[in-house]
Protein backbone atom coordinates (compact mmCIF):
# COMPACT_ATOMS: atom_id res chain seq x y z
CA UNK A 1 0.00 0.00 0.00
CA UNK A 2 1.48 3.31 -1.07
CA UNK A 3 1.54 6.46 0.97
CA UNK A 4 -0.86 9.08 -0.33
CA UNK A 5 -0.32 11.96 2.06
CA UNK A 6 2.82 12.60 4.00
CA UNK A 7 4.21 15.36 6.17
CA UNK A 8 7.86 15.52 7.06
CA UNK A 9 9.28 17.39 10.00
CA UNK A 10 6.77 20.19 9.93
CA UNK A 11 7.35 23.10 12.28
CA UNK A 12 4.80 25.81 12.93
CA UNK A 13 4.91 28.51 15.58
CA UNK A 14 2.46 31.24 16.41
CA UNK A 15 4.48 33.93 18.10
CA UNK A 16 6.12 32.18 20.98
CA UNK A 17 3.84 29.19 20.88
CA UNK A 18 5.16 26.10 19.13
CA UNK A 19 2.09 24.53 17.58
CA UNK A 20 3.81 21.86 15.50
CA UNK A 21 7.25 20.41 16.19
CA UNK A 22 8.97 18.04 13.78
CA UNK A 23 5.59 16.65 12.87
CA UNK A 24 5.83 13.64 10.59
CA UNK A 25 2.77 11.63 9.63
CA UNK A 26 1.81 9.24 6.84
CA UNK A 27 -1.54 8.33 5.42
CA UNK A 28 -1.76 5.17 3.36
CA UNK A 29 -3.77 5.24 0.17
CA UNK A 30 -7.25 3.82 0.58
CA UNK A 31 -7.14 3.83 4.36
CA UNK A 32 -9.02 5.70 7.03
CA UNK A 33 -6.42 7.36 9.23
CA UNK A 34 -7.16 8.92 12.59
CA UNK A 35 -5.42 11.86 14.19
CA UNK A 36 -6.02 12.21 17.89
CA UNK A 37 -4.49 14.04 20.81
CA UNK A 38 -5.40 16.30 23.70
CA UNK A 39 -6.69 19.80 23.11
CA UNK A 40 -4.04 22.11 21.80
CA UNK A 41 -1.87 19.32 20.48
CA UNK A 42 -1.82 20.83 17.01
CA UNK A 43 -4.26 18.67 15.06
CA UNK A 44 -6.16 21.50 13.41
CA UNK A 45 -2.92 23.38 12.83
CA UNK A 46 -1.58 20.40 10.96
CA UNK A 47 -4.70 20.36 8.84
CA UNK A 48 -4.26 24.06 8.16
CA UNK A 49 -0.68 23.53 7.07
CA UNK A 50 -1.57 20.60 4.82
CA UNK A 51 -4.42 22.48 3.13
CA UNK A 52 -2.59 25.77 2.73
CA UNK A 53 -4.47 27.82 5.30
CA UNK A 54 -1.29 28.19 7.33
CA UNK A 55 2.33 28.41 6.26
CA UNK A 56 4.75 25.85 7.61
CA UNK A 57 7.86 27.40 9.14
CA UNK A 58 9.85 24.33 8.16
CA UNK A 59 9.26 20.84 6.85
CA UNK A 60 7.45 19.46 3.83
CA UNK A 61 4.08 18.12 2.82
CA UNK A 62 3.73 15.55 0.07
CA UNK A 63 0.75 14.30 -1.86
CA UNK A 64 1.87 11.00 -3.40
CA UNK A 65 5.22 12.07 -4.84
CA UNK A 66 4.35 15.68 -5.28
CA UNK A 67 5.54 18.33 -2.90
CA UNK A 68 2.68 20.58 -1.92
CA UNK A 69 4.15 22.54 0.97
CA UNK A 70 2.75 26.04 1.40
CA UNK A 71 0.68 26.20 -1.74
CA UNK A 72 -2.58 28.17 -1.75
CA UNK A 73 -5.82 26.55 -0.57
CA UNK A 74 -7.47 26.65 -3.96
CA UNK A 75 -4.56 24.78 -5.50
CA UNK A 76 -4.60 22.23 -2.71
CA UNK A 77 -8.27 21.71 -3.44
CA UNK A 78 -7.61 21.36 -7.14
CA UNK A 79 -5.06 18.64 -6.41
CA UNK A 80 -7.75 16.55 -4.82
CA UNK A 81 -7.55 17.27 -1.11
CA UNK A 82 -10.90 18.10 0.44
CA UNK A 83 -11.30 19.42 3.94
CA UNK A 84 -13.95 20.24 6.52
CA UNK A 85 -13.59 22.61 9.45
CA UNK A 86 -13.99 22.18 13.17
CA UNK A 87 -16.47 25.04 13.22
CA UNK A 88 -18.57 24.07 10.26
CA UNK A 89 -18.25 26.54 7.42
CA UNK A 90 -21.03 26.79 4.90
CA UNK A 91 -22.39 29.69 2.86
CA UNK A 92 -25.44 30.82 4.84
CA UNK A 93 -27.02 33.15 2.31
CA UNK A 94 -26.90 30.58 -0.48
CA UNK A 95 -29.30 27.69 -0.79
CA UNK A 96 -28.10 24.19 -0.03
CA UNK A 97 -27.93 23.39 -3.72
CA UNK A 98 -26.01 26.59 -4.41
CA UNK A 99 -23.55 25.65 -1.69
CA UNK A 100 -22.95 22.44 -3.55
CA UNK A 101 -22.50 24.22 -6.86
CA UNK A 102 -19.76 26.46 -5.51
CA UNK A 103 -17.60 23.41 -4.92
CA UNK A 104 -18.53 21.51 -8.05
CA UNK A 105 -17.60 24.22 -10.46
CA UNK A 106 -15.09 22.05 -12.25
CA UNK A 107 -17.51 19.55 -13.69
CA UNK A 108 -19.94 21.82 -15.47
CA UNK A 109 -22.31 19.44 -17.14
CA UNK A 110 -24.36 17.37 -14.74
CA UNK A 111 -23.11 19.45 -11.81
CA UNK A 112 -26.59 19.69 -10.43
CA UNK A 113 -27.12 15.99 -10.79
CA UNK A 114 -23.93 15.13 -8.98
CA UNK A 115 -24.75 17.65 -6.29
CA UNK A 116 -28.15 16.07 -5.80
CA UNK A 117 -26.54 12.65 -5.55
CA UNK A 118 -24.27 13.80 -2.76
CA UNK A 119 -27.12 15.49 -0.94
CA UNK A 120 -29.07 12.25 -1.08
CA UNK A 121 -26.04 10.35 0.09
CA UNK A 122 -25.78 12.41 3.26
CA UNK A 123 -29.52 12.60 3.62
CA UNK A 124 -30.43 16.28 3.31
CA UNK A 125 -31.69 16.26 -0.26
CA UNK A 126 -35.09 17.51 0.84
CA UNK A 127 -33.51 20.77 1.93
CA UNK A 128 -31.83 21.56 -1.35
CA UNK A 129 -33.83 24.74 -1.87
CA UNK A 130 -33.51 26.02 1.68
CA UNK A 131 -31.06 28.69 2.63
CA UNK A 132 -28.07 27.03 4.23
CA UNK A 133 -28.22 29.54 7.05
CA UNK A 134 -31.47 28.00 8.25
CA UNK A 135 -30.06 24.49 8.66
CA UNK A 136 -29.45 23.02 12.06
CA UNK A 137 -25.92 22.32 13.24
CA UNK A 138 -26.07 18.65 12.34
CA UNK A 139 -27.49 19.41 8.91
CA UNK A 140 -24.73 21.91 8.27
CA UNK A 141 -22.14 19.29 9.09
CA UNK A 142 -23.73 17.00 6.56
CA UNK A 143 -23.82 19.79 4.01
CA UNK A 144 -20.18 20.54 4.52
CA UNK A 145 -19.38 16.86 4.07
CA UNK A 146 -21.50 16.75 0.94
CA UNK A 147 -19.93 19.70 -0.77
CA UNK A 148 -16.45 18.51 0.01
CA UNK A 149 -17.31 15.16 -1.51
CA UNK A 150 -18.98 16.51 -4.62
CA UNK A 151 -15.62 17.52 -6.06
CA UNK A 152 -14.57 13.88 -5.78
CA UNK A 153 -11.37 14.46 -3.84
CA UNK A 154 -8.73 11.75 -3.61
CA UNK A 155 -8.29 12.29 0.09
CA UNK A 156 -10.69 13.90 2.55
CA UNK A 157 -9.53 15.61 5.72
CA UNK A 158 -12.30 15.71 8.32
CA UNK A 159 -11.91 17.97 11.34
CA UNK A 160 -14.09 16.62 14.13
CA UNK A 161 -16.89 15.24 11.95
CA UNK A 162 -18.63 13.80 15.00
CA UNK A 163 -18.27 16.90 17.16
CA UNK A 164 -21.41 18.19 18.83
CA UNK A 165 -23.92 15.92 17.11
CA UNK A 166 -26.13 13.18 18.49
CA UNK A 167 -25.39 9.50 18.37
CA UNK A 168 -27.57 8.50 15.43
CA UNK A 169 -26.01 11.16 13.26
CA UNK A 170 -22.54 10.08 14.32
CA UNK A 171 -23.31 6.56 13.20
CA UNK A 172 -24.74 7.88 9.96
CA UNK A 173 -21.54 9.79 9.27
CA UNK A 174 -19.39 6.79 10.16
CA UNK A 175 -21.41 4.61 7.80
CA UNK A 176 -20.92 7.09 4.97
CA UNK A 177 -17.20 7.17 5.55
CA UNK A 178 -17.03 3.39 5.46
CA UNK A 179 -18.99 3.31 2.22
CA UNK A 180 -16.75 5.84 0.56
CA UNK A 181 -13.64 4.18 1.84
CA UNK A 182 -14.80 0.86 0.49
CA UNK A 183 -15.00 2.54 -2.88
CA UNK A 184 -11.41 3.66 -2.56
CA UNK A 185 -11.42 7.08 -0.92
CA UNK A 186 -8.73 7.93 1.62
CA UNK A 187 -9.59 9.71 4.85
CA UNK A 188 -7.68 11.53 7.54
CA UNK A 189 -9.89 12.26 10.52
CA UNK A 190 -9.30 14.43 13.55
CA UNK A 191 -11.58 13.40 16.36
CA UNK A 192 -12.03 13.38 20.11
CA UNK A 193 -14.70 10.73 20.02
CA UNK A 194 -12.63 7.64 20.77
CA UNK A 195 -15.32 5.15 19.89
CA UNK A 196 -15.71 6.76 16.51
CA UNK A 197 -11.99 6.74 15.83
CA UNK A 198 -11.25 3.29 17.11
CA UNK A 199 -14.15 1.75 15.27
CA UNK A 200 -13.43 3.39 11.96
CA UNK A 201 -9.72 3.92 11.50
CA UNK A 202 -7.13 1.51 10.18
CA UNK A 203 -4.30 3.56 11.54
CA UNK A 204 -4.20 6.12 14.35
CA UNK A 205 -1.58 8.81 14.96
CA UNK A 206 -1.38 10.54 18.31
CA UNK A 207 -0.18 14.12 18.63
CA UNK A 208 0.90 15.80 21.81
CA UNK A 209 2.22 19.35 21.95
CA UNK A 210 2.81 19.35 18.24
CA UNK A 211 4.78 16.12 17.94
CA UNK A 212 3.81 12.57 17.12
CA UNK A 213 3.99 10.37 20.18
CA UNK A 214 2.61 7.17 18.73
CA UNK A 215 1.26 5.74 15.53
CA UNK A 216 -0.21 2.38 14.66
CA UNK A 217 -3.41 0.34 14.59
CA UNK A 218 -6.05 1.47 17.10
CA UNK A 219 -5.68 -1.48 19.43
CA UNK A 220 -1.95 -1.02 19.83
CA UNK A 221 -2.14 2.76 20.20
CA UNK A 222 -4.82 2.76 22.83
CA UNK A 223 -2.67 0.87 25.25
CA UNK A 224 0.57 2.73 24.44
CA UNK A 225 2.10 4.24 27.56
CA UNK A 226 3.05 7.49 25.87
CA UNK A 227 -0.48 7.99 24.57
CA UNK A 228 -1.93 7.53 28.03
CA UNK A 229 0.56 10.01 29.39
CA UNK A 230 -0.32 12.48 26.66
CA UNK A 231 -3.89 12.50 27.85
CA UNK A 232 -2.60 13.66 31.23
CA UNK A 233 -2.56 10.27 32.77
CA UNK A 234 -6.25 9.84 32.13
CA UNK A 235 -7.17 6.27 31.28
CA UNK A 236 -7.97 6.30 27.59
CA UNK A 237 -10.92 3.99 28.12
CA UNK A 238 -12.34 6.46 30.60
CA UNK A 239 -11.97 9.21 28.05
CA UNK A 240 -13.81 7.02 25.56
CA UNK A 241 -16.71 6.44 27.91
CA UNK A 242 -16.97 10.10 28.74
CA UNK A 243 -17.16 11.29 25.19
CA UNK A 244 -19.58 8.50 24.29
CA UNK A 245 -21.99 9.62 27.04
CA UNK A 246 -21.65 13.26 26.20
CA UNK A 247 -22.54 12.68 22.57
CA UNK A 248 -25.72 10.79 23.47
CA UNK A 249 -27.16 13.79 25.15
CA UNK A 250 -25.75 16.47 22.88
CA UNK A 251 -28.28 18.93 21.52
CA UNK A 252 -27.83 21.21 18.51
Amino acid sequence: MSVLLRTEGVHKSYGGVRALDTCTIEVGEGTVAGLIGPNGSGKTTLFNVITGYAKADAGQVYLADRRITNIAPDKVFALGIGRTFQLTRIFPSLTVMENMLVASQHSRSGARKRAMEQLEFVGIAGYHASLAGTLSYGQRKLLELAYVLVADPTIVLLDEPAGGVNLSLVNQIAARIRELNAAGKTFLIVEHNMEFVMGLCHQVTVLDSGTVVATGPPDIVRTDRRVLDAYLGEDIEEAEEDSGEADDGASQ
Partner: protein, 378 residues
Protein backbone atom coordinates in the same frame (compact mmCIF):
# COMPACT_ATOMS: atom_id res chain seq x y z
CA UNK B 1 -42.64 38.06 -30.90
CA UNK B 2 -41.54 35.11 -28.81
CA UNK B 3 -44.42 33.19 -27.40
CA UNK B 4 -44.87 33.56 -23.67
CA UNK B 5 -44.05 29.94 -23.08
CA UNK B 6 -40.68 30.11 -24.77
CA UNK B 7 -39.81 33.35 -23.05
CA UNK B 8 -40.83 31.83 -19.79
CA UNK B 9 -38.69 28.74 -20.13
CA UNK B 10 -35.71 30.69 -21.37
CA UNK B 11 -35.64 33.16 -18.56
CA UNK B 12 -36.98 31.10 -15.73
CA UNK B 13 -39.58 33.75 -15.09
CA UNK B 14 -43.18 32.81 -15.05
CA UNK B 15 -46.66 34.22 -15.19
CA UNK B 16 -47.12 37.15 -12.92
CA UNK B 17 -43.48 38.18 -12.86
CA UNK B 18 -43.08 38.17 -16.61
CA UNK B 19 -46.30 40.06 -17.12
CA UNK B 20 -45.24 42.60 -14.55
CA UNK B 21 -41.94 43.22 -16.24
CA UNK B 22 -43.54 43.65 -19.64
CA UNK B 23 -46.02 46.13 -18.23
CA UNK B 24 -43.27 48.12 -16.52
CA UNK B 25 -41.20 48.22 -19.66
CA UNK B 26 -44.14 49.36 -21.73
CA UNK B 27 -44.89 52.02 -19.19
CA UNK B 28 -41.32 53.23 -19.18
CA UNK B 29 -41.26 53.44 -22.94
CA UNK B 30 -44.50 55.37 -23.03
CA UNK B 31 -43.62 57.74 -20.21
CA UNK B 32 -42.31 60.70 -22.26
CA UNK B 33 -45.25 60.41 -24.59
CA UNK B 34 -47.77 60.39 -21.76
CA UNK B 35 -45.99 63.06 -19.72
CA UNK B 36 -44.22 65.35 -22.17
CA UNK B 37 -43.59 68.05 -19.58
CA UNK B 38 -39.81 68.60 -19.52
CA UNK B 39 -39.86 68.87 -15.74
CA UNK B 40 -41.21 65.34 -15.52
CA UNK B 41 -38.98 63.88 -18.18
CA UNK B 42 -36.06 65.43 -16.34
CA UNK B 43 -37.05 63.43 -13.31
CA UNK B 44 -37.24 60.44 -15.58
CA UNK B 45 -33.75 60.91 -16.97
CA UNK B 46 -32.16 61.25 -13.57
CA UNK B 47 -34.14 58.40 -12.11
CA UNK B 48 -33.05 56.10 -14.93
CA UNK B 49 -29.45 57.22 -14.69
CA UNK B 50 -29.45 56.24 -11.07
CA UNK B 51 -31.27 52.99 -11.72
CA UNK B 52 -28.33 52.08 -13.93
CA UNK B 53 -25.73 53.33 -11.47
CA UNK B 54 -27.34 51.63 -8.49
CA UNK B 55 -27.69 48.34 -10.36
CA UNK B 56 -24.08 48.51 -11.44
CA UNK B 57 -22.96 49.28 -7.92
CA UNK B 58 -25.04 46.46 -6.58
CA UNK B 59 -23.89 43.71 -8.90
CA UNK B 60 -20.44 44.25 -7.59
CA UNK B 61 -20.77 45.51 -4.02
CA UNK B 62 -24.12 44.01 -3.16
CA UNK B 63 -23.22 40.55 -4.43
CA UNK B 64 -19.62 40.44 -3.21
CA UNK B 65 -20.04 42.27 0.06
CA UNK B 66 -17.22 44.68 -0.76
CA UNK B 67 -18.90 48.01 -0.15
CA UNK B 68 -17.43 50.55 -2.54
CA UNK B 69 -17.76 54.22 -1.72
CA UNK B 70 -15.76 55.19 -4.77
CA UNK B 71 -17.95 54.49 -7.78
CA UNK B 72 -18.10 58.21 -8.34
CA UNK B 73 -14.55 57.72 -9.63
CA UNK B 74 -15.93 55.90 -12.66
CA UNK B 75 -18.88 58.21 -13.06
CA UNK B 76 -16.78 61.35 -13.05
CA UNK B 77 -14.03 59.82 -15.14
CA UNK B 78 -16.53 58.81 -17.78
CA UNK B 79 -17.88 62.33 -17.83
CA UNK B 80 -14.46 63.95 -18.00
CA UNK B 81 -13.22 61.51 -20.62
CA UNK B 82 -16.03 62.51 -22.95
CA UNK B 83 -15.48 66.17 -22.26
CA UNK B 84 -11.81 65.92 -23.05
CA UNK B 85 -12.39 63.78 -26.14
CA UNK B 86 -15.08 66.06 -27.52
CA UNK B 87 -12.89 69.08 -26.97
CA UNK B 88 -9.62 67.65 -28.28
CA UNK B 89 -11.07 65.75 -31.21
CA UNK B 90 -13.42 68.58 -32.10
CA UNK B 91 -16.51 66.48 -32.10
CA UNK B 92 -19.78 68.35 -32.29
CA UNK B 93 -23.44 67.73 -32.87
CA UNK B 94 -25.00 64.31 -32.81
CA UNK B 95 -21.64 62.68 -33.38
CA UNK B 96 -20.83 63.07 -29.71
CA UNK B 97 -22.95 60.07 -28.87
CA UNK B 98 -20.58 57.91 -30.81
CA UNK B 99 -18.07 58.69 -28.09
CA UNK B 100 -20.12 56.99 -25.40
CA UNK B 101 -18.30 53.66 -25.61
CA UNK B 102 -15.20 55.63 -24.70
CA UNK B 103 -16.61 56.52 -21.31
CA UNK B 104 -17.39 52.87 -20.66
CA UNK B 105 -13.87 51.93 -21.69
CA UNK B 106 -12.36 54.58 -19.45
CA UNK B 107 -14.42 53.33 -16.54
CA UNK B 108 -13.24 49.78 -17.16
CA UNK B 109 -9.61 50.78 -17.61
CA UNK B 110 -9.52 52.71 -14.36
CA UNK B 111 -11.20 49.85 -12.55
CA UNK B 112 -8.34 47.49 -13.34
CA UNK B 113 -5.52 49.11 -11.34
CA UNK B 114 -8.04 50.41 -8.83
CA UNK B 115 -9.34 46.91 -8.27
CA UNK B 116 -5.92 45.27 -8.22
CA UNK B 117 -4.89 47.52 -5.38
CA UNK B 118 -8.13 47.76 -3.49
CA UNK B 119 -9.33 44.17 -3.73
CA UNK B 120 -6.28 42.67 -2.12
CA UNK B 121 -7.29 43.92 1.28
CA UNK B 122 -10.12 43.01 3.60
CA UNK B 123 -13.46 44.70 3.57
CA UNK B 124 -13.02 47.46 6.12
CA UNK B 125 -9.84 48.58 4.44
CA UNK B 126 -11.41 48.25 1.03
CA UNK B 127 -14.10 50.77 1.88
CA UNK B 128 -11.52 53.27 3.03
CA UNK B 129 -9.36 52.79 -0.04
CA UNK B 130 -12.32 53.51 -2.26
CA UNK B 131 -12.88 56.72 -0.33
CA UNK B 132 -9.21 57.64 -0.64
CA UNK B 133 -9.13 56.99 -4.39
CA UNK B 134 -12.30 59.02 -4.76
CA UNK B 135 -10.65 62.00 -3.14
CA UNK B 136 -7.52 61.55 -5.19
CA UNK B 137 -9.59 61.74 -8.37
CA UNK B 138 -11.51 64.75 -7.20
CA UNK B 139 -8.27 66.49 -6.36
CA UNK B 140 -6.76 65.59 -9.71
CA UNK B 141 -9.79 67.06 -11.43
CA UNK B 142 -9.23 70.30 -9.53
CA UNK B 143 -5.50 70.43 -10.11
CA UNK B 144 -4.91 69.29 -13.66
CA UNK B 145 -5.18 71.83 -16.44
CA UNK B 146 -6.54 69.43 -19.04
CA UNK B 147 -9.54 68.84 -16.85
CA UNK B 148 -10.31 72.50 -16.76
CA UNK B 149 -9.60 72.93 -13.06
CA UNK B 150 -12.38 74.49 -11.04
CA UNK B 151 -14.28 75.57 -14.13
CA UNK B 152 -14.51 72.08 -15.48
CA UNK B 153 -15.52 71.10 -18.98
CA UNK B 154 -18.46 71.83 -21.25
CA UNK B 155 -20.22 69.45 -23.55
CA UNK B 156 -20.73 70.30 -27.23
CA UNK B 157 -23.88 72.15 -28.00
CA UNK B 158 -26.81 70.13 -29.30
CA UNK B 159 -29.23 72.11 -31.46
CA UNK B 160 -32.42 70.39 -30.31
CA UNK B 161 -35.77 71.92 -29.46
CA UNK B 162 -36.10 72.84 -25.82
CA UNK B 163 -39.49 71.24 -25.41
CA UNK B 164 -38.34 67.77 -26.44
CA UNK B 165 -34.68 68.13 -25.53
CA UNK B 166 -34.94 65.62 -22.72
CA UNK B 167 -36.54 62.85 -24.69
CA UNK B 168 -33.57 61.36 -26.53
CA UNK B 169 -31.68 61.42 -23.25
CA UNK B 170 -34.56 59.69 -21.59
CA UNK B 171 -34.42 56.82 -24.02
CA UNK B 172 -30.65 56.56 -23.87
CA UNK B 173 -30.84 56.50 -20.09
CA UNK B 174 -33.60 53.90 -20.32
CA UNK B 175 -31.36 51.82 -22.52
CA UNK B 176 -28.55 52.06 -19.99
CA UNK B 177 -30.88 51.22 -17.14
CA UNK B 178 -32.34 48.18 -18.89
CA UNK B 179 -28.85 47.08 -19.86
CA UNK B 180 -27.62 47.37 -16.31
CA UNK B 181 -30.62 45.48 -14.97
CA UNK B 182 -30.24 42.68 -17.50
CA UNK B 183 -26.54 42.44 -16.75
CA UNK B 184 -27.29 42.31 -13.05
CA UNK B 185 -29.83 39.55 -13.60
CA UNK B 186 -27.52 37.55 -15.83
CA UNK B 187 -24.77 37.77 -13.27
CA UNK B 188 -27.02 36.74 -10.46
CA UNK B 189 -28.13 33.53 -12.07
CA UNK B 190 -24.72 32.60 -13.42
CA UNK B 191 -21.97 30.60 -11.82
CA UNK B 192 -19.96 33.82 -11.74
CA UNK B 193 -22.62 35.41 -9.57
CA UNK B 194 -22.72 32.35 -7.35
CA UNK B 195 -19.01 32.65 -6.74
CA UNK B 196 -19.39 36.33 -5.91
CA UNK B 197 -22.05 35.57 -3.37
CA UNK B 198 -19.99 32.75 -1.91
CA UNK B 199 -17.16 35.23 -1.52
CA UNK B 200 -19.53 37.48 0.34
CA UNK B 201 -20.43 34.75 2.80
CA UNK B 202 -17.00 33.29 3.40
CA UNK B 203 -14.21 34.30 1.09
CA UNK B 204 -11.58 32.04 2.59
CA UNK B 205 -13.82 29.02 2.38
CA UNK B 206 -14.73 29.88 -1.20
CA UNK B 207 -11.05 30.11 -2.03
CA UNK B 208 -10.51 26.77 -0.40
CA UNK B 209 -13.12 25.33 -2.74
CA UNK B 210 -11.33 26.56 -5.80
CA UNK B 211 -12.97 29.92 -6.39
CA UNK B 212 -10.46 32.32 -7.99
CA UNK B 213 -11.48 35.13 -5.72
CA UNK B 214 -9.32 37.93 -7.11
CA UNK B 215 -10.31 37.15 -10.67
CA UNK B 216 -14.00 37.03 -9.83
CA UNK B 217 -13.99 40.21 -7.77
CA UNK B 218 -11.95 42.13 -10.30
CA UNK B 219 -14.18 41.10 -13.19
CA UNK B 220 -17.29 42.26 -11.41
CA UNK B 221 -15.55 45.46 -10.38
CA UNK B 222 -14.48 46.21 -13.94
CA UNK B 223 -17.97 45.55 -15.29
CA UNK B 224 -19.39 47.82 -12.63
CA UNK B 225 -16.85 50.48 -13.56
CA UNK B 226 -17.66 50.22 -17.25
CA UNK B 227 -21.39 50.64 -16.77
CA UNK B 228 -20.95 53.48 -14.28
CA UNK B 229 -18.50 55.21 -16.60
CA UNK B 230 -20.91 54.91 -19.51
CA UNK B 231 -23.72 56.46 -17.52
CA UNK B 232 -21.36 59.21 -16.39
CA UNK B 233 -20.83 60.07 -20.02
CA UNK B 234 -24.56 60.20 -20.67
CA UNK B 235 -25.05 62.40 -17.64
CA UNK B 236 -22.33 64.75 -18.85
CA UNK B 237 -23.98 65.23 -22.20
CA UNK B 238 -27.31 65.80 -20.57
CA UNK B 239 -26.10 68.44 -18.16
CA UNK B 240 -23.67 69.81 -20.76
CA UNK B 241 -21.06 70.41 -18.12
CA UNK B 242 -18.94 68.79 -15.44
CA UNK B 243 -16.90 70.25 -12.62
CA UNK B 244 -14.88 68.51 -9.93
CA UNK B 245 -17.52 68.68 -7.20
CA UNK B 246 -20.34 67.50 -9.47
CA UNK B 247 -18.42 64.84 -11.34
CA UNK B 248 -16.89 63.60 -8.13
CA UNK B 249 -19.62 64.24 -5.64
CA UNK B 250 -19.14 62.86 -2.11
CA UNK B 251 -22.86 62.32 -1.82
CA UNK B 252 -23.02 60.29 -5.01
CA UNK B 253 -21.86 57.03 -3.53
CA UNK B 254 -23.81 57.45 -0.36
CA UNK B 255 -27.01 57.96 -2.33
CA UNK B 256 -26.28 54.96 -4.51
CA UNK B 257 -25.56 52.75 -1.53
CA UNK B 258 -28.73 53.94 0.12
CA UNK B 259 -30.73 53.13 -2.99
CA UNK B 260 -29.34 49.63 -3.24
CA UNK B 261 -29.71 49.11 0.45
CA UNK B 262 -33.25 50.39 0.63
CA UNK B 263 -34.35 48.12 -2.15
CA UNK B 264 -32.31 45.18 -0.98
CA UNK B 265 -28.63 44.40 -1.48
CA UNK B 266 -27.96 41.36 -3.53
CA UNK B 267 -31.29 41.37 -5.34
CA UNK B 268 -31.79 42.54 -8.91
CA UNK B 269 -34.90 44.63 -8.47
CA UNK B 270 -33.89 46.15 -5.14
CA UNK B 271 -31.59 48.88 -6.47
CA UNK B 272 -34.13 49.68 -9.16
CA UNK B 273 -36.84 50.28 -6.61
CA UNK B 274 -34.48 52.16 -4.36
CA UNK B 275 -33.34 54.45 -7.15
CA UNK B 276 -36.89 55.11 -8.32
CA UNK B 277 -37.84 56.13 -4.80
CA UNK B 278 -34.81 58.12 -3.74
CA UNK B 279 -33.61 59.93 -6.83
CA UNK B 280 -36.84 61.76 -7.67
CA UNK B 281 -37.22 62.42 -3.97
CA UNK B 282 -33.78 63.94 -3.76
CA UNK B 283 -34.33 66.03 -6.87
CA UNK B 284 -37.60 67.32 -5.52
CA UNK B 285 -36.09 68.25 -2.19
CA UNK B 286 -33.09 70.03 -3.66
CA UNK B 287 -35.33 72.01 -5.95
CA UNK B 288 -37.94 72.97 -3.40
CA UNK B 289 -36.11 73.29 -0.11
CA UNK B 290 -32.68 74.54 0.74
CA UNK B 291 -30.12 71.84 0.12
CA UNK B 292 -29.38 71.23 3.77
CA UNK B 293 -32.82 70.01 4.66
CA UNK B 294 -32.52 67.36 2.00
CA UNK B 295 -29.32 66.18 3.63
CA UNK B 296 -31.01 65.84 6.96
CA UNK B 297 -33.91 64.03 5.39
CA UNK B 298 -31.69 61.72 3.39
CA UNK B 299 -29.76 60.79 6.48
CA UNK B 300 -32.90 60.31 8.52
CA UNK B 301 -34.56 58.22 5.86
CA UNK B 302 -31.55 56.05 5.82
CA UNK B 303 -31.51 55.57 9.56
CA UNK B 304 -35.16 54.63 9.50
CA UNK B 305 -34.60 52.18 6.66
CA UNK B 306 -31.67 50.50 8.33
CA UNK B 307 -33.32 50.18 11.68
CA UNK B 308 -36.72 49.03 10.48
CA UNK B 309 -35.93 47.13 7.31
CA UNK B 310 -32.36 45.97 7.54
CA UNK B 311 -32.65 43.67 4.57
CA UNK B 312 -34.29 46.19 2.31
CA UNK B 313 -37.75 46.56 0.86
CA UNK B 314 -37.75 43.72 -1.65
CA UNK B 315 -36.62 40.91 0.66
CA UNK B 316 -38.65 42.19 3.60
CA UNK B 317 -41.69 42.74 1.42
CA UNK B 318 -41.24 39.36 -0.20
CA UNK B 319 -41.09 37.64 3.15
CA UNK B 320 -44.12 39.52 4.37
CA UNK B 321 -46.13 38.45 1.35
CA UNK B 322 -44.96 34.90 1.72
CA UNK B 323 -45.96 34.84 5.34
CA UNK B 324 -49.42 36.00 4.40
CA UNK B 325 -49.85 33.42 1.66
CA UNK B 326 -48.41 30.39 3.42
CA UNK B 327 -50.00 30.92 6.77
CA UNK B 328 -50.95 27.61 8.31
CA UNK B 329 -49.28 25.43 5.71
CA UNK B 330 -45.99 23.61 6.13
CA UNK B 331 -43.69 25.11 3.55
CA UNK B 332 -40.93 22.57 3.04
CA UNK B 333 -41.24 18.93 4.13
CA UNK B 334 -38.87 17.56 6.73
CA UNK B 335 -35.76 15.79 5.47
CA UNK B 336 -36.80 12.44 4.03
CA UNK B 337 -34.45 9.42 3.99
CA UNK B 338 -33.03 8.62 0.56
CA UNK B 339 -34.97 5.39 0.21
CA UNK B 340 -38.30 7.17 0.53
CA UNK B 341 -37.36 10.27 -1.33
CA UNK B 342 -39.49 11.66 -4.16
CA UNK B 343 -37.91 11.72 -7.66
CA UNK B 344 -35.33 14.39 -8.30
CA UNK B 345 -36.92 16.40 -11.13
CA UNK B 346 -39.49 18.45 -9.20
CA UNK B 347 -36.68 19.36 -6.85
CA UNK B 348 -34.51 20.65 -9.66
CA UNK B 349 -37.15 22.92 -11.10
CA UNK B 350 -38.06 24.53 -7.83
CA UNK B 351 -34.36 24.99 -7.23
CA UNK B 352 -34.12 27.27 -10.26
CA UNK B 353 -36.80 29.27 -8.56
CA UNK B 354 -34.62 29.61 -5.53
CA UNK B 355 -31.94 31.38 -7.50
CA UNK B 356 -34.26 34.05 -8.85
CA UNK B 357 -33.95 37.50 -7.42
CA UNK B 358 -36.04 38.30 -4.45
CA UNK B 359 -36.13 34.69 -3.44
CA UNK B 360 -33.46 35.32 -0.89
CA UNK B 361 -36.15 36.76 1.30
CA UNK B 362 -38.85 34.36 0.27
CA UNK B 363 -36.69 31.30 0.71
CA UNK B 364 -35.72 32.42 4.13
CA UNK B 365 -39.30 32.89 5.20
CA UNK B 366 -40.26 29.43 4.01
CA UNK B 367 -37.23 27.66 5.22
CA UNK B 368 -37.45 29.45 8.51
CA UNK B 369 -40.83 27.92 9.11
CA UNK B 370 -39.72 24.51 7.93
CA UNK B 371 -36.64 24.69 10.06
CA UNK B 372 -38.62 25.37 13.13
CA UNK B 373 -40.83 22.41 12.37
CA UNK B 374 -38.26 19.98 11.04
CA UNK B 375 -35.30 21.03 13.11
CA UNK B 376 -36.18 18.52 15.72
CA UNK B 377 -35.84 15.66 13.26
CA UNK B 378 -32.06 15.79 13.40
Amino acid sequence: MASPKILSRFSGLTGLRLAGIVVLLAGALAFPVLFPNPVLTNYGVFALIFVAVASAWNFFSGFSGYISLGNAVFFGSGAYALGIAARDWHVTGIGVFALLPLSAAVGALIAVPFGLIALRVRRHTFIVITIAVFFIFQLMAYNFSFTGGTTGLDAPFLPWAAQTYNNPFYYIALGCAVGAIVLSWLIRRSRFGLQLRAIRDDEDRARGLGVRAMRVKLSAFVLSGAVTGLVGGVWFFYLTQVQPPSGFDPLFDLSVVLMAFLGGLGTVSGPVLGALIIEPGQLYLTANTNGYISEILLGSLFLVAVLLMPRGIIPTGGEYIRRLTTRGRAAIPAAVPASQRAPASPGLRSDEGATREGDAGEGEGEAGGARRQAGKAL
